[in-house]
Amino acid sequence: MEVDSQEQLQRKQSTYLSLDENFEIQKEVYRGQQYSQIYFARLHMMRTLLYSLVPNWKSHLPVCTVLELEEGKECIIVGTLYKHMKLKPCILDEYSKERSVAPLIKPHNFMHQDDYLVLEDESGRVKLGGTKLSPSVYVTGVVVALHGKETSAGAFFVEDVLEAGLPPQIKQPLKSREDKYVVFVSGLSIGRSSSNPLQFQLLVDHITGHLGDEEEQGLAAEIVHLVIVGNSVEISRGLLNGQNLASKDQSRLSEPFKELDILLTQVFSSHHCDDQHFKVSLLKFLYCSCCLSIFIYVQIAASLPLDIMPGSSDPANFALPQQPLNRCLFPGSTTFNTFRSCTNPHCFELDSIRFLGTSGQNIDDLTKYSEAKDKLDFLERTLRWRHLAPTAPNTLGCYPFTDRDPFLIDSCPDVYFVGNQEKYETCLLKGLEGQLVRLICIPRFCETGVAVVVSVFHLPGC
């Protein structure tokens, strides 16, 4: 096999715009505020929106607040839902004098058939009855409009529900007709004993154009962006038990980061070794089949821009929105200006195509407190409710914002992704006003070895 062809492939470029400003908390000041502020901001923004939608829905009915409800009068009320859950763990249970036999709790889901919903606004709250609003679908924190009437028992019988629906989408025509790819990978979990470093090495080799023949490398040159969606490292629990670390353990603590930094630096480097690679590919790619053997390798000039998001196992803050991972963790990669440490949730535009997604905490929390047929269903619900993480701050850690709720989705993304899921799933969501969103569940790479490649050219509406 001959090596060292003189060809040079140019990696395609695209314009990148970060929209993470909303998720940054550097300017926020904590003055001892509680979560009532963020709930007020959420209710106000959503209620204003729902009030504008109500005339198109049922214009003949009066809109009133919870306190203004009269028995038997049909009307529309808007408020925040609260789901009373019997099995939801409560800190007060520890102090309960009665230690009755606790029902068997499935740790992954706290639903119970006796759960009920309550609607709350500033004036009061009312229990919701009727079968239209299913407690298994909704969670605390969702703002909806309800049509119904108060019963003699003091509950509100729901006849119909209005959700905000998909937000408006700004469609911009694609400037060029050439095909470009964005690679998403999540759950690398470097540092976990079961993670196989060969898998990620193969992925890096492929996207930097070190694997495959000319055709494969041509495809690799069309990759314009790489997004690492959370849980890149995993630090062994034994090291984090609060004890002072011995010096040998201290080096163990930083090993996963060093490994990750070395791998990421390779992504940026356009130089590679002259050795021929014989590697058995363990990766499954979604747009090409496995490839083996050696070829004329071609240098792909220009490094690949990279976004790294924090996840639940990464050394970032616990509460959402997670702040970008500190650049000190990546001494090698930060020298490249195409390395970006991003927030979780992360929103960016690539060639005017809007991407929005999280590392999975919001969807995992919905899985615990509601049910759906698959994860894509949860993704769709968050878009219809126009809120990335409705269970924050109830069961999901959240910063106590005072004047805004940064998780409200104002503009419909073109690609909506969630990381660290069990398996790869995707579907196309169509909105009533012609919005088209590609929903993607990105699986955990250390368990599945699967990365997701999105073809920008083939996105609908582009």
Binding site: A41, T402, D403
Partner: protein, 116 residues
Amino acid sequence: MATPSKNMKAFYKQKKKNTTGGITKSKSSKSTKPAATDIAQLPHGVPLDIKDADIEEEEKALREFDMNMAYGPCIGITRLGRWERAQRLGLNPPKEIEKLVKSGKVKLQSLFDGRM
């Protein structure tokens, strides 16, 4: 929050303007602690010896602003912060409140601050 009442007589008594404070002391003209039986006190025994009638009016107006549900919760946020938030959310809070808070003569926080 409990239903707000614009009339706050339940927990603080409106003062007549020329009262010196319930205890008549021969020596000091300034009463340091009004009798507990006479005037209802705020928690923590903060006396309500607001002497200047103008400030009392301003404080009353600010308390009304604090209690107004439409602008959201008043605890854990400064009055100015709450006013600015209301402005940003398009709630059109009265401009007089902004002037009062920015004048610096009144309390920055609502009545309940630090007590809840």
